[in-house]
Symmetry: D2
Subunit: 452 residues, 4 copies
């Protein structure tokens, strides 16, 4: 088999003879001397080779290779998100990388089918060589969880405390774990980025205010309808349900409730970030929200797949060592693993719960023409700097010097221009908007000239 990347234009002869010129070849490039010499069967070393131990080793190594790749991708995305203003020209690459992560996780989930060809009896034959069994811990998987955003305080107790013992004798690994707990996780970086979503600003589009208005209207209408129900029992039921719905919405409007849920680990996003995520969901069709919206979906996929991986893992453990427990005290391996299926291990749980707060399409607040424009323009850092420089303006001045729209006289009054301020200062979901959010657009504020 030639590798996927056999050259395309060479004739057979060329292919052959070029080989002679040395150069990095496949085997040494892939360091196969390491990869293919890292399988030592303990059972064999002990004189009782167990056939299936080979699979056990290989499959775990394959998992570790993939975990390394996932961490590599997640780190690269975390890095892009680490700057104050994310360059929108990187969005395609971010999407690509997170999409790749989901494909790898999907493969990892499917991979369990292979390990399930090993039977408990097979496993029992070499299991003792791996003692202490509980020592089997994938350092990289923990690292990945941390980097995605699983917080130590949300882990089940055993999982919180004992990692020191598990990883303690690999100084470097322990160090990397601790570092991963300190560094901003992908979840946290995402939250920061969502907080900067254009349109959340207190001035300008004021998404949150408009959203609340729409919710209130929806609730009021529903109440009115339910109040007219004749059958008393049913009316009570409907109103109870309505009450719950109201409470649910209240939990996102009342910051103190929201914060309490965050404190309890049931929500993860800051209040502002939650608003950003909702806004992106509602207006995902606007060009500038396309990629952010795809990203939010992919992050849910990541969470789902992590959780499916854990679930497959639990199933396998049950098959290999059973789940039954008689008597008192202690949780079994199976029970412990089952506990990690809790929603507390889902770092993007808020994105799943967004669906609770959606409104029917026709209740969604209409974008102002200005907002629509903002959401159709991207910008890169380079451009921003350059434009300002070219004009010989400081950024500060620039905010107020955008009026280049003398051809649209009715836009001349300053108040409306302010609308742009948040727009430019918003550190960018999706980048900051600069001067080409041209004056004429400014002219038409949300209240005065909204359009469908």
């Amino acid at each position: 088999m030639a590798c996927p990347f056999a050259s395309n234009n060479d004739s057979e002869d060329t292919m052959g003879s070029l080989m002679e010129h040395g150069g990095q070849n496949y085997t040494s490039y892939l360091q196969l001397h390491k990869i293919l010499n890292a399988q030592r069967l303990e059972s064999e070393a002990d004189g009782h080779k167990v056939h299936d131990e080979h699979l056990f080793i290989i499959i775990h190594q394959a998992y570790e290779l993939w975990f390394k790749q996932i961490i590599y991708e997640v780190d690269s995305v975390r890095e892009i998100f680490s700057v104050e203003e994310v360059d929108e020209r990187k969005m395609l690459e971010i999407i690509k990388r997170i999409h790749r992560v989901t494909l790898i996780l999907k493969l990892c989930v499917d991979q369990f089918l292979i390990l399930e060809t090993m039977t408990p009896l097979d496993f029992m034959e070499f299991r003792d060589y791996l003692s202490p069994a509980s020592g089997f811990q994938s350092f990289q998987f923990r690292l990945l969880e941390n980097k995605l955003g699983v917080k130590s305080e949300h882990r089940v107790r055993f999982n919180q405390e004992h990692y020191m013992k598990v990883f303690g004798d690999h100084k470097e690994n322990l160090h990397r774990i601790q570092e991963s707990e300190r560094e901003p996780s992908l979840q946290e970086l995402l939250a920061k980025w969502l907080e900067r979503t254009p349109g959340l600003d207190s001035k300008g589009f004021k998404f949150w205010k408009m959203y609340k208005r729409a919710v209130d209207a929806s609730l009021a209408a529903q109440k009115l309808e339910f109040d007219q129900e004749k059958i008393e029992a049913k009316k009570k039921q409907l109103l109870d349900a309505w009450k719950k719905r109201q409470e649910l919405f209240n939990s996102i409007f009342d910051t103190s409730i929201h914060n309490a849920l965050v404190a309890r680990g049931e929500r993860r996003l800051s209040h502002q970030a939650l608003q950003g995520a909702l806004m992106i969901s509602f207006y995902r069709e606007e060009p500038r929200f396309n990629q952010p919206y795809q990203l939010l979906n992919l992050l849910m996929d990541v969470d789902s797949l992590m959780t499916k991986w854990r679930y497959n893992h639990v199933m396998l453990v049950q098959r290999m060592i059973g789940s039954q427990q008689i008597g008192t005290g202690g949780s079994s391996g199976y029970q412990y693993l089952r506990s990690t299926l809790s929603d507390r291990y889902k770092v993007f749980i808020d994105l799943f719960n967004l669906s609770t707060f959606l409104l029917p399409r026709d209740s969604i607040p209409t974008l102002t023409r200005h907002m629509k424009h903002r959401l159709s323009v991207h910008e890169t850092h380079a451009q921003k700097g350059r434009t300002s420089a070219a004009r010989g303006l400081t950024e500060e001045e620039e905010d107020f010097s955008l009026d280049d729209s003398d051809d649209l006289p009715d836009d001349a009054d300053s108040p409306k221009k302010l609308e742009d301020v948040p727009c430019r200062d918003a550190p960018a979901v999706v980048g900051t908007l600069d001067s080409e959010a041209s004056g004429s657009v400014v002219a038409n504020g949300p209240e005065t000239s909204t359009e469908k």
Copy 2:
């Protein structure tokens, strides 16, 4: 994450404290210091790190790990098949291992989806570091093909000749390749084993003779029907089709035609092995043929999946480097790879073509009662030796002492006991089973005592 094999009964505390006692831990057991330190990006070494080179390395390493596992399983099965008489108690394990191979191959096929997230532009950025591109050759994949049974003479020309150049500088690899060409392949071992299918014997059931009779009857009946067609044009058509069918069947009855096809690489099984495979297909419901039948199906799966792997590979190459070719001379990488999709790379091609020679269920020759019995009894070597020895019979004598067919009036006398002999002495799954090809069986021959 605790690994799949966290112990089950320990309490949390036990899990923690047991850690302290040392013992092989996960990281060192898996030799992760090798596995996770084998990714060196050439582009990075050169000062222009290309993000996607990491994926390129990891995925190829994952492939190589899996290839190693597949080779490990195939070798283990080849070893089991290498003895004269295969121990039937190993059949379950053989099935398990080949089934595992199919699951791994399925994973390998799916894995291409991940590599497809790399784009041609990404690839182009680091492709030159891998020069000469055509040097990329997976030694293990070639090894696997050889061990399965791809013959050098059936490979396309380029693939035949140039491997020396590709693998030439890894003495050990070259040696293993050459060895794999000399050693019996899985395909060849399978053929030997099929040749020993019970019931093919010239004495006894005489499957082939009975099969030919059934085919002839089927052809004759069909001819009769077609001859009565009134419309001339259609009649001609039907008879043409019939003629072809007859020729096809003739190609398996006429040994010289069969051998000619083998010489041309269009068939791979010996004439006797082909008979065995057909017999197993027909009588797969008989207990003793259950596992052999499953094995034949799994081997077709292996072939299909190898071929799907190659096809996915071709698609990927087309995407990465294109397939268009203008001008004269030489085949491109794409064209070369496409040529390996030929049926000549299918080592179990005969199993696929068996379907051509099947007969409707009601035309299949009925098993004799004796044959039915033979196919419901398994035996192991240990038993065989012991029984014969215990009886003080030579094997030779035993063969002829089987007569249990007097209609068994008196069970006290020895003849009846003999009925058990095959039961204990049948040397193989589908082993040679010489002994029961015995005179007494003849007495119960197909004509005299067939039963439904």
Copy 3:
């Protein structure tokens, strides 16, 4: 596209002209006029077509088609198992069908990925047309659960009681559901079959007695080792763990504990069936246990996949409608579905837990030579009847007329002759095998004539 089953030998012209002769064609054979005219978008009918409703309908219809196929296969296997003595010649077919069920379930699990391309906003747009949402119930899925063996009393309360309301207005469906609760489930039929595993007999091999002896020895040895531990704290720990292990084993030896667990729904197999399953696991390499062992594994796959399907379902619901709940009372759709992930919905839970009771290979009681023989011989009904008839013996007599053991002097007394009975007359794979529960077996008991 020609369908997979284009004829193979016809020339193009033949293919064309044969068309003219009428005959069932693809479109009418598949009744595509029904299948492809069963998609009515409620949103469209209401004047506000929602694009994604089409997918919603199609995917649910695809699920229902597959559920029908799974039920068809499960019913066919239940039928085979419904007879007193299962014909061993049907085992291959059973394996094939259950394997097919696992492949279909795997597809059904993967299918969720497609539905996840619909977003909550999309769903919200047509969700109201489907009111009452909770009315969406797959009757076939409930039927399947029942047929597999989910018991009404193990379901969560809501799931137990309300199906009447859900299915109540489809008389026939309601009837089929009720019937499925009365009829023996696959789980129950499997249990019956396992109870008849050869070797469990109180006479003969006495598997259970031998197994208990081996367990006791293992526990005793372990205790001895732990008692010698010097460090007091650790000793206590080890002995605690040992105690738990002992209790666990005790739960299968003490019938009253076992039955109590069955009553609580934590075990499902009868005590005798559990023994059969364990025995098959231990001696799976014996030819006669090959297929039964494969079957047990496949049934675990079915359970795992049903559970993965439910898990994927839960994930989807969380994504579509959220999982957050504030305030008091009532469980949400999400919470309800999550509750069905309980092990109480796993009908083959005992098979998973078998691993708890395994012993290392070298502690497994050695099969007697007689038992080894029994496990290498299959028999069909036809043979049994015929043989007995031919001999003019009643079954009763037959048991004692098999004397073939003169060459084994210590077997000379009649009981030993019985050893052969199973060989010719054993009525089933693992059928009832009443007859070989014979005295002679005792004579060859484990202590006197075991062999490796």
Copy 4:
């Protein structure tokens, strides 16, 4: 099982009682009376029920449901693309739908694994009921091929001519097929859209001119290097390869060669469309090209998966009916199907071959600042109309009235302004750009002020 869309906030009681209010329920909504009553086993009707015929029917029906869904999605995308100027706000939806198509096709490919559990012997038992076998034709699959863009003239002969016979007796189906051959295919609509890629314009960025310049430079540099090779044999080799590369590039620069390839079916895109596709590939990171680039990749996935589907189909047919052919004349079903694997059935073949024409990242022509701006701004129709109207300008005038860049005096001369013209006239990859492509940007033409 409650369906994925159980309501979330209702308490159990609510769930129960709401049921009573009627409303569309699951069973009738899905028209299960049609779906689940469309399986009639011909073998059963004929008195010889063949178990596996049920699977055969169900799986084909599932395929047909999915084909319907794919056609539905493809049609919806074709419709969006059918207008002169594609609304950029629809891009996210287009991506979603084509992505969904790829997931469905992936499922369809995997689905073959299920059909492969049927054996040739099983199939043979009911195959005759389906006569004439060759009549099995999926009308929807042909329709799908046509709608994607498979042209009748590129089909293999048999496939071209005989569909009349196959579909001839279903008037409506025949009509739909013929219509699908007349209507613009997705491939053709894509080509039209690519031709409008901003930046291809003869004025303005002049991508093609710049690309050719870069290619020429690259070729020249390579030639220079090869000319210096000392070893004569190798030099010849290198120069031969170079020559081929040059010819290949020439084939896209020389319109007559390109058109000749199109005429032969080896290319499908018009010359201008090819340029657009290349441009999108090179500048995919620019926000406005993000979605188009994702689309191009997804379309390749569609092509790959269609082709993998066909390949799996061929493998299945080989397994069911064999591939061997003896004697003369006619192609078998297997051979016919294999022929459809030709690249001529790949409608987006040009996208695969783009990789041949890529340039290393550092050779790619740098975007002008203006071009960069154009590629960061999206626009919708509504906006466009409104802006022009607000200004009281005709579109024609607008093109030339953009100069609002007094702060950049050196831009005052008309030539640079022209740069904008293409920008606004480009009928929009991705929408037309309107006035907010503000003047200052205009100032920096490609030659004078490119930036990294």
